[in-house]
């Protein structure tokens, strides 16, 4: 099995503009930044949440706390896969009780990661509200989960993969659609 790149979904510049818009939407739909907290889902949700917080910081002149969530222990497929995935730390340095949380991830697909993220957050307290923000929504949901903030909706087939590459992790900045070929 190998993968071929089919097309580019977002350029570096488009990622930047999309994040600007998402940051505005988050502030607008939240009626300000009061009690707001951003939670980046490992791995690529983390730099995205940090960038959103930075944009909100400079445009709305408000500091929004950012936390990092590792969902490994909350996955629902652990008993069916071989070696256990490596667990990473969850670093949320602010109390989540009564917070207005926005969970940030790169791609929304089956919805299982978002479900796991919610379980992880519930173990830390009782947020007032949890919403989801993703760069790409590629469809194929397996759970009743939708995202309040979406960068771009893309139609995909089952065999395709949306690869979000961010300079903090991948050393390049773009989103591509790749396909698996036998």
């Amino acid at each position: 099995m190998r993968v071929i790149e089919k097309r580019q979904l977002l350029s570096a510049e488009e990622i930047g503009r999309t994040l600007q818009r998402l940051a505005h939407e988050i502030v607008e739909k939240s009626g300000g930044t009061k009690d707001l907290g951003l939670i980046g889902v490992r791995r690529r949700g983390v730099p995205l949440a940090e960038r959103l917080a930075k944009i909100i910081g400079s445009t709305a002149r408000a500091e929004v706390p950012v936390g990092t969530l590792d969902i490994t222990l909350y996955r629902d497929d652990l008993s069916t896969i071989g070696p256990q995935p490596v667990v990473q730390s969850t670093e949320i340095a602010f109390p989540v009780d009564d917070r207005d949380l926005v969970v940030v991830d790169d791609v929304l697909y089956t919805g299982r990661t978002a479900r796991a993220a919610m379980n992880g957050l519930f173990d830390l307290g009782r947020p007032r509200r949890i919403r989801l923000c993703v760069l790409i929504d590629r469809g194929h949901r397996e759970l009743p989960i939708e995202s309040a903030f979406v960068g771009r909706t893309v139609e995909t087939s089952d065999t395709e993969i949306v690869e979000v590459r961010l300079r903090e992790i991948d050393g390049e900045e773009r989103v591509v659609l790749v396909d698996r070929v036998a």
């Binding site: 909350y74 652990l78 008993s79 070696p83 490596v86 670093e91 379980n119 173990d123 830390l124």
Partner: protein, 323 residues
């Protein structure tokens, strides 16, 4: 990629990379102990057999709590229970437990090598919770985690181990572990408790009979428990031991000012350790207990979680059926 751990039978057979992997994997579980809701569903539906053929309170509670916090159920076999007293053999007892289909087994046994014996015969992950005078790997791992946290790194410390080293599996596991990370180990205790053979466990280990000399320049001091049944006249009276080997605050001053004091517990104040030292800022005993939970959660997660090593993936089974 790191080879999947199947058992944890001792520190001797682990390499430095595997040890660091376990310590790194314990970090998220350390953080977890501070969560308001200490219950995961990660190992829901899994069962861990706790087979304690030798009396234990702390280690058994630690493993049981670690399993519970991961969402696993436990089956408990305790030394006081009747089947052991009725003379059933080790292998028959563990085969009976195995027939109840646990996903892993934690064993403590008075005979050195018992966990390995069981691991060779059962198709289950085995964790050694202490075997005779051989090893107590989870204790050494939690000690290493405490040292790394308190002192910023694990490598290259002067480590002094005080007390009954001969009978101590804690001492052996610690020597194997810290020896792999360049520790300079000093053993100190009554001569009958530190035979020369112990020097072979970790390179460069020295035996020093005088406590003042043994503590000089120490970065880490591991105080061992002195079993009361071994302290009696004429061999060794308690007063003699206290006089010669108790870690007092005066003696602690001979070590580095930031030296860390560890004790595997249960600690007998006034015998092997002065209460002032036990309650002092250099003592890491309570962190050791919390870190024990984290290390045991990490091991249970990696050893008993997931599909059995040889089991076909459910998806694979389906596709085979379609062939």
């Amino acid at each position: 990629m790191l080879q999947r751990l199947q058992h944890v039978l001792g520190i001797e057979s682990l390499n430095a990379e595997q040890i660091l992997f376990i310590l790194d994997q314990s970090k998220p579980f350390q953080e977890f102990q501070r969560h308001p809701l200490k219950k995961l569903a990660t190992l829901r539906g899994k069962t861990v057999a706790l087979a304690f053929f030798e009396a234990s309170t702390r280690t058994r509670i630690s493993f049981a709590t670690a399993a519970a916090r991961l969402g696993a159920d436990t089956m408990n076999l305790q030394a006081e229970s009747s089947s052991l007293k009725k003379g059933e053999s080790l292998i028959d007892t563990v085969r009976t437990l195995e027939a109840m289909r646990p996903d892993g087994i934690v064993i403590r046994h008075a005979s050195s090598g018992a966990p390995e014996f069981v691991a060779e015969r059962l198709g289950l992950p085995v964790i050694n919770a202490g075997d005779g005078m051989h090893e107590h790997p989870t204790q050494a791992l939690l000690d290493a985690l405490t040292i790394r946290d308190r002192k910023g790194k694990l490598e290259g410390w002067n480590v002094t181990i005080l007390g009954d080293i001969l009978h101590s599996r804690v001492a052996r596991s610690n020597m194997y572990l810290l020896g792999k990370f360049g520790a300079r180990i000093t053993l100190c205790g009554p001569a009958m408790w530190m035979p020369k053979e112990l020097e072979g466990i970790a390179p460069g280990t020295r035996r020093v009979p005088r406590i003042e000399e043994a503590l000089e320049g120490a970065d880490v001091i591991i105080v061992l428990r002195v079993q009361s049944e071994r302290i009696h006249e004429p061999a060794l009276a308690a007063e003699e031991y206290i006089l010669g080997y108790q870690l007092t605050s005066e003696r602690l001053k001979l070590a580095r000012p930031d030296a860390l004091v560890l004790h595997p517990g249960p600690m007998i104040r006034g015998l092997e350790i002065d209460p002032v030292v036990a309650d002092g800022p250099q003592c890491g005993v309570l962190e050791q207990v919390t870190n024990g939970l984290a290390v045991r959660m990490a091991l249970l997660y990696h050893l008993t979680g997931g599909a059995p090593v040889d089991a076909p993936h459910p998806a694979k089974e389906r596709s085979n059926a379609a062939d």
